[in-house]
Symmetry: C2
Subunit: 443 residues, 2 copies
Amino acid sequence: MEGLTKIDDLGKPRVVIVGGGFGGLELAKALAHAPVQVVLIDKQNYHTFQPLLYQVASAGLDEGDIVSPFRKILNEQDNFYFRLAEVLSVDAQAQIVETSIGCVRYDYLVLATGATTNYFGDAQMEKNAIAIKSVEDALELRNTVLSNFEQALQLGDMEQLNSLLDFVIVGGGPTGVEIAGALSELRTHVFPKDYREIDFKEMDIHLVQSGPVLLKGMSANASEQALKSLQKFGVQVWLDARVKSYDGYTATLNTGQQLVARTLIWAAGVTGAPIKGLDAGCLLPGNRYAVDVYNRVQGYENVFAVGDIALMKTPEYPDGHPMVAQPALQQGRRLGENLHRVLTHRLMEPFHYDDKGAMATIGRNHAVADIKLFGKEYHLDGFLAWLAWSVVHVVSLIGFRNRLMVLLQWTWSYFSYDKGLRYIIGKTRAPLVEADVEGKAIV
Amino acid sequence: MEGLTKIDDLGKPRVVIVGGGFGGLELAKALAHAPVQVVLIDKQNYHTFQPLLYQVASAGLDEGDIVSPFRKILNEQDNFYFRLAEVLSVDAQAQIVETSIGCVRYDYLVLATGATTNYFGDAQMEKNAIAIKSVEDALELRNTVLSNFEQALQLGDMEQLNSLLDFVIVGGGPTGVEIAGALSELRTHVFPKDYREIDFKEMDIHLVQSGPVLLKGMSANASEQALKSLQKFGVQVWLDARVKSYDGYTATLNTGQQLVARTLIWAAGVTGAPIKGLDAGCLLPGNRYAVDVYNRVQGYENVFAVGDIALMKTPEYPDGHPMVAQPALQQGRRLGENLHRVLTHRLMEPFHYDDKGAMATIGRNHAVADIKLFGKEYHLDGFLAWLAWSVVHVVSLIGFRNRLMVLLQWTWSYFSYDKGLRYIIGKTRAPLVEADVEGKAIV
């Protein structure tokens, strides 16, 4: 196998990147012309454009529109190698990563494993809630929403019926706000045509946020507008409230309020996804690795971390950078340049975050945006923000095909008021119910 | 529930259609203006455009491009109702269909359950082979092909490696020919860029056909051209050969020849998917219901069957019509008109099949077509047939969105020589292999 041995024969230092999210992928690209062998290891063979996962969950986009196989993205980069595997542990002494398909030696190791859903130790919640962190999550949520309505048709008992039509979303960050808005759009424009037998006044969408504002971290203007828009769309927003428990049927808030819903979407927090084997001392609360301004993991010479898994405390960002795409992308790019510099005997340059602002979309013609341009900050909301959000997201997608497809889907959805991908393929959490006496569906 | 009771209150005769393939869906549409309530029951909530499943399997199309949710297709048809359920049995005496969500009464019952893969009783084959009859099948095949290559990278042992790279396709009908062609295109234009470490001269594609010709039932010209094209593309075609057994690793032919491949695609035959409860006497060999020229099941007054599950023997078609889309579509349409006639006290009209010919595509610029127009038969092959095939399939898709998306995908694939949907999401049959000593992949 000429091909395989070739890898061993390269004789160049090897950079092993664990995880192909925004940070890992950008780093791999940034090393295109560096004198290294780049090995990316991921348990999926594709990059996921996470900011649009909620649109896959709400039948607006196909999963194929927001994922890109790593090999397709980088198959023209000569020094790039991909391995589909799960990383089990790191032996920093021996400079080896243990994976599900065997051990991999490294000269430089970069952890870019991102973050995973944080249930704060609530096992019951973890079992009963649905997250939106992966394509599988998003598809399962879509299948569950659609199946719920199919099953609801069988029921005459109003409480049972309502439990299938109602949704509780926990977490008022961008994901929570966006999925709440998307569900309300489906309720207004799409589902009533599909399920004429259902009275959609019975469909409730609850958004539960632990703090006093939505979109914490964005401007006060954005938070207020998001709240107003959601309320206008008929979403019931519970501020300063927490879901204390959820048994798969009843969500109990700390206020004592009970919300009955078979589907609870958990968007209330993330935690780092660390790897076994590294010194526990470098892992900060939140399961993120302490890194210096070069993204080097504290206490290691040749182990780095970028993106959500890295926590870089700086005077400007004493709690680290926001766990969103931009810091990951910028750190990946900077680290790529820095490794290139090191290997060509130049000094590394510290990372500086270029904050471009933040945006969230609420629904048709409604979004909020805090945009930072040339040192100034602009607040947009309504149609203009929505247009800006759409343009930024289409442009940020990877590859011409995905950009074109998303643009077309959106244009079509916008003018038809439709979300076409309402098919159920794969896993669903919806219960299978038999027609009850009052319902008697079509008997 | 006003909506639900409304159904019971219609006071119109109810037509229950079991299965929303080409025949069932066309029938539901044809009843749009008939004085009936139309209830379609299917275990999926979407229609599948089966002729393009092989393109989903070969990463050329997204599953979303070839499926259409029933509710989306027909949500403007007032008398249409859909239920997501599996039909368990029929009680023709009581005029009731028993389903997974309860019992459904009918005035007219139409079986449109189609056909399922026929393994001819070979349980080992059923366990080890992959079919291409459903979207799930197609996605599993795609995942398996891609995973095979990912795993092959770990291996140095040539026999093990080859077992992952080689494919055996059983059945030389349109599906077998088309998937063989699609795999050879991937081998030539797509995979070598993705898997630079693999020598694709080692990837063998075997097509095993029990009879002396491919595309049996098409013209001799079509059969010959298909064989020539496949051989030109490097597919190894075994005519007059049968796979006697397959243990998941070695396929043994009746000639004694052994083909080692971890993936065997079974496209060698279908059998009707009958329903429990009807008189066994009306079920002919091949598990298809004997129907008269009005598609009425033999021995029943108000039970009909259309499409693959129906076998209508006529002087012109003593063995019934071909089990493809056109007869199903035409029977569905005719039966819709006939039920409308019966209900408005007119006589039914017998079914006549309008044979428009047959086509199969082999790959880029290569297809064969026997086209019947105004009583004349035309044989096309090569680029013209490929163009005709493409146009016919785009036009036949359901809905503007799917037509546009498929057209764009194909245009993009044609000019880029790429098939972009190479991500692995969901089930795969590929084994998980650890790097072996000779391979040592990236250790």
